[in-house]
Every structure is written in structure tokens, then in C-alpha cells.
Amino acid sequence: MSIVTVKGLRKEYPSFRLNDVSFELEKGRITGFAGRNGSGKTTTIKSMLNLIHPNAGEITYFGIPLIGNEAQIKQRISYSTGTVSWYPRKKLRDIVSVTKRFYPNWDDSAYQSYRKLFALEENKTPLELSEGMKVKFNLLLALSHRSQILILDEPTSGLDPFSRDELLDIFTGLRDKGVSVFFSTHIISDLEKCADDIIYISAGTIRAAMSVRSFQDSFSLSGETLEQTVLRLEKEART
């Protein structure tokens, strides 16, 4: 069942254009949003969160248009970005205590269990965290309010291999609970580990949006890994 629909998304900048981006996200599936730096992943995600205004296109969650229903929809989705530091000089405890007030569905037991898993100390400030720990703190906020869709922009960048592995396991656990996970990455091996579907974007255009298996059936040469396939496609697109 499709719970997110992105249709005909177009955003023009002086030096970059997002061209007619369309895809759907299914309930209880992990979708990897793959593409090189500057391919349009973050622009797409920002549009999906109404942080930027597309020149054209429509985005719906749970069949409801994002525009005009933003507050209601954001109760049911989570977003986390890489290493952006919110309120660098405030204690994590204070940031959390303010944030949780906005979410009637805030799950304190999930918060505590993820906090322990990520080894985050509440008395620290984001300024005292390493880049990887900042990613984990952003994820902690995103994971603690029982959202039905997790939208993550480069969540694994900056994480050590052990933490990345843990995170991908968390994605799998969430999927099993019916949560949809949509994460952008340029680390294709992350997709190989856990993604059900892949959306591949190159130079602002969606080149493929399908299951990982269909993608490999359609594009991979014999013996090629997913990473090798994407690298080859990207090279071909640039020549």
C-alpha cells in the first residue's frame, strides 16, 4: 500500500534542476534513495518536508496532501539529517524535553532504549558530541515518537561501521513493525544490506524506482554488485 506519493516534482535553481521527480513509498518497506552528491536527493527530501517550495508537483502522505496539512502529517512522520547540530550549547535533556511536548505519541521507553543503544548522555550538549554522535542524537529524536514513516537524509554518513550496522538493523526492526523507512545515501553497500526498494536519482532525474531485485534484474550485468551497477550507470550517464 502506497503511503507517500511524490508526483511531478520540479524545482529549478540557477545551476540545478530537479526534473519531474515521481515515486511512491510503500508501507513497511525500506527504500534507499541513491545518488551521488549534488544529484538532487536533499532537494527532493526538503520538498517532501515543505522546507522548500517546488515549482511544480504534488506530495501526499497517507492520501493527504502535504500542503495545508503539514502539522497533522508531521505528527506521523520523522525526519533526521546527518550532522546538523541543533542548539549546540543546550543539554540534550533540555532539547528532548521541549521536543517531546510537540508529540502526543512520544514514546519515553523507546527514547530511553535508543538512547542507551546509542550511548548518548543526556547531560552533554551537541557541541560536545562527535559528528557520528550528532547523527545518532538526530536519529534518537526521530525514532522516539512512534512515527509511521522515517525520512532520513544521509543517516549513515559519519557513522563508524559498527554503528552503521546497528542502524541498518534498527531499520529492519522498524520495517517489521510496519514502519516505512526512506533514507538517502551515496553508500550503496548500505542499500544492499537492508533496502527492499531503490530510487536512483542522477542529475536531478529519477532513473529508476523499483524493488532492489527488479533493479538488479534490469540493470546489473552478470556478477555485478549493486554498488558496481550504480557506479557503472553513473559513469555511463556522464559520458
Partner: protein
């Protein structure tokens, strides 16, 4: 609304915004252009906008389950809260100066503006200008605040200059009257000041909501 104000007060605000409320006490200082205290209070609020920008506050807020206009509302609520706290302090100080200290020689020979309801009305007007020029200007981009603040500085000091000058013009001495002789006139001017504050703030809020809705974060 309560949640977004709580966020402003605890996460976004700089401690200087709270400390600078104390500049309302300048209304007690004789031989000093007391309306500068109002400007210093706005300088304190400016510090919160500066620290909030460094903390990525606007984007953080935009990701919360609130409408965009609620983010604007949060900033206005916070600023009005600080302004009204300062007004409360200045009103108390003015009352003390006009009653308990009414016979103090330093106030009777004060060459500059006296603390009276007219001065409070001008203070409201300056806060209204701040809300219009600075906060409204800030929300055109949600990150640039130098130009809006410089505009506010110019406007605020023009008003302070006018406030200090008016009572020297023949026929307008009553604006600066010390005591209760022209109290009803001064109360009327205070009411005008409050009305201008409400009007300028509402005007700025509506414009800021429109601008903020349009910009990309």
C-alpha cells in the same frame, strides 16, 4: 501555542534577552535619555535571534509538527513577552518616580525627558517599530538580520530624539510635565502608544507569516 512559546523561552532565547529587561530601570535615572533603555531591551531580543540562527532554530522548528505561521507566532510571542516584561518594569519605575520620589531635586531639575505616561507611550511605539522593522524584516529571509536591525536602530534613535525634543517646542511642554497636572493628556498619549504597538505588531505578524510561507529553508 504554549509549546512553541516554551521552545522559544528555553531553547531559542539568549539569556541576554532576559537580563536586558533590567534596562527598563533606566527610567529611574535622572539626566539620562530614558528611552535608550527601550532600545537596549530590543538589543537583548536581537541577541536571541542571533543565537537562534546559530542554533539552526528555524529549520528545527520547521520540522516540528506545527504550521509555518506558528513558528512566526512563536518569535512574536517571545518578543512581546520580553517587551511587556520591560514595560511592566518601566511602568513600576515611572509610578515610583511620579509618587514616592516626586519631590526629589534631581527629578525636578531634570533637563531631559521625564518618566511619565507619555514616555511609556513612546516606549510602546518603539517596541512596535522593532516588531515591524526588525522581526518583520528578519522573516523576509529567516536568516538575514543585519539590515533589519540597522533600520530599527535608525528609526528608534529618531523617535528617541523626537521624544527628547518635543517638550522643548513651545506649547508642548505638557508632554514632559512632572506630576499629575497633565496626567489625562499623557494617559491619552499612552493609549495611542499602546494602539500603535498593537497595530504595528499585528501588521508585522501578518507580513512575516506571508514572507515566511514563501521562502525556502
Amino acid at each position: 501555542m504554549k509549546n512553541i512559546l516554551k521552545k522559544e523561552l528555553t531553547l531559542s532565547a539568549s539569556v541576554l534577552s532576559y537580563l536586558f529587561i533590567a534596562f527598563g530601570l533606566l527610567f529611574l535615572v535622572p539626566g539620562y535619555p530614558i528611552l535608550c533603555g527601550v532600545f537596549f531591551v530590543t538589543l537583548g531580543i536581537f541577541q536571541s535571534f542571533q543565537s537562534a540562527r546559530e542554533a539552526n532554530d528555524v529549520v528545527f522548528s520547521a520540522l516540528l509538527p506545527v504550521a509555518k505561521k506558528d513558528i512566526v507566532k512563536g518569535k512574536f510571542l517571545f518578543s512581546c513577552f520580553i517587551e511587556l516584561c520591560a514595560m511592566l518594569l518601566m511602568t513600576g519605575v515611572t509610578a515610583v518616580r511620579m509618587t514616592l520620589l516626586k519631590d526629589a531635586a534631581v527629578y525636578k531639575s531634570n533637563a531631559l525627558m521625564n518618566a511619565n505616561p507619555f514616555a511609556l507611550g513612546v516606549a510602546f511605539f518603539i517596541f512596535g517599530l522593532f516588531n515591524l522593522l526588525f522581526i518583520g524584516g528578519f522573516f523576509r529571509t529567516a536568516y538575514r538580520f543585519a539590515r533589519p536591525f540597522v533600520t530599527h536602530i535608525i528609526a528608534a534613535f529618531l523617535v528617541i530624539g523626537a521624544g527628547e525634543t518635543l517638550h522643548h517646542i513651545p506649547g508642548l511642554e505638557s508632554l514632559n510635565a512632572f506630576g499629575f497636572e497633565h496626567f489625562s493628556l499623557q494617559l491619552l498619549l499612552l493609549a495611542l502608544g499602546i494602539l500603535s504597538y498593537l497595530f504595528l505588531t499585528a501588521l508585522s505578524y501578518r507580513g512575516a507569516c506571508r514572507s515566511f510561507e514563501r521562502i525556502d529553508l
